[in-house]
Amino acid sequence: MTTETLETSLKIIRTFEAPLEKVFQPWTDPAKMVKWMGPGAIYCKDVQIALKVGGQYRIHMFSEEDGDHIAIGEYQEIVPNQKLVFTWSWESGTVTGSLVTIEFESQGESTQITLLHENFPTKESAERHNQGWNGCLDKLEKFCH
């Protein structure tokens, strides 16, 4: 039994040969997102975005093999050309969603994207864990005994 399974989040860092605004727009403009979202044989049929904190999005993807894959979620943080944080779940799914954080960094004519996908339903629960909340509770408990 290997322990690589102990990761709880996924991080991808990638550089694109395009300036910052050009790399940010395809994430927030439905007309642009519909042209690239959808891995492999899955293509995007329709994208709806309400771009504001608390606003919802709906990404309707489709493949001949499996049919509809509809991703939905809510924006938690929006900093234009810098950062997007949104929840991510499948419309047909039954469990609470996960959290995607995308950060954009200009490198002159190119742009670096850092994508973090964590299995937490909100920014608050992710931050709480990252602050070592549980560690604090343990220390406190030891003190009380």
Binding site: M1, T3, E4, T5, L6, E7, T8, S9, L10, I12, R14, F16, E17, A18, K22, V23, P26, K32, K35, W36, M37, G38, P39, G40, A41, I42, S63, D66, H69, W90, S92, G93, T94, V95, T96, I113, L115, H117, N119, F120, P121, H129, G132, N134, G135, D138, E141, K142, H145
Partner: protein, 112 residues
């Protein structure tokens, strides 16, 4: 791409998100451990480690075997595999999407 069913997965990740629980899992995956042994390793109070063990149990990551007053814990691999599969699924998903984004950005027709 097969649609990924996320049964119980949130509970698994909540269990995995704590560093103490990850250490407990590493120990239990090496070999089965008694509750007392685990409490000693972390120099933690018994109720303290007990809380962590319950979270791991409820996520079906470990299983408790009771023999009189001795509680022994063993690893349950299926939940670990599910967590691993979640990561792998989204890794493939986003890498492929970012490939598409790259094509979109470098396609001369798209850049004004």
């Amino acid at each position: 791409m097969v649609k990924y069913e996320e049964y119980q997965i949130n509970r698994t990740f909540h269990a995995l998100s704590d560093p103490t629980r990850r250490k407990i899992l590493k120990m239990v995956s090496a070999k089965s451990r008694k509750a007392s042994e685990l409490a000693q390793s972390f120099s933690m109070s018994f109720p303290g480690v007990s809380k962590h063990l319950k979270v791991l149990e409820q996520a079906y990551l470990i299983e408790r075997q009771i023999n009189g007053r001795v509680h022994t814990f063993i690893l349950k691999e299926r939940a670990m595999k599910r967590a691993y599969n979640w990561i792998k699924f989204y890794e493939k998903f986003w890498i492929s999407n970012l490939d598409n984004l790259n094509d979109f950005l470098t396609n001369k027709g798209e850049i004004e």
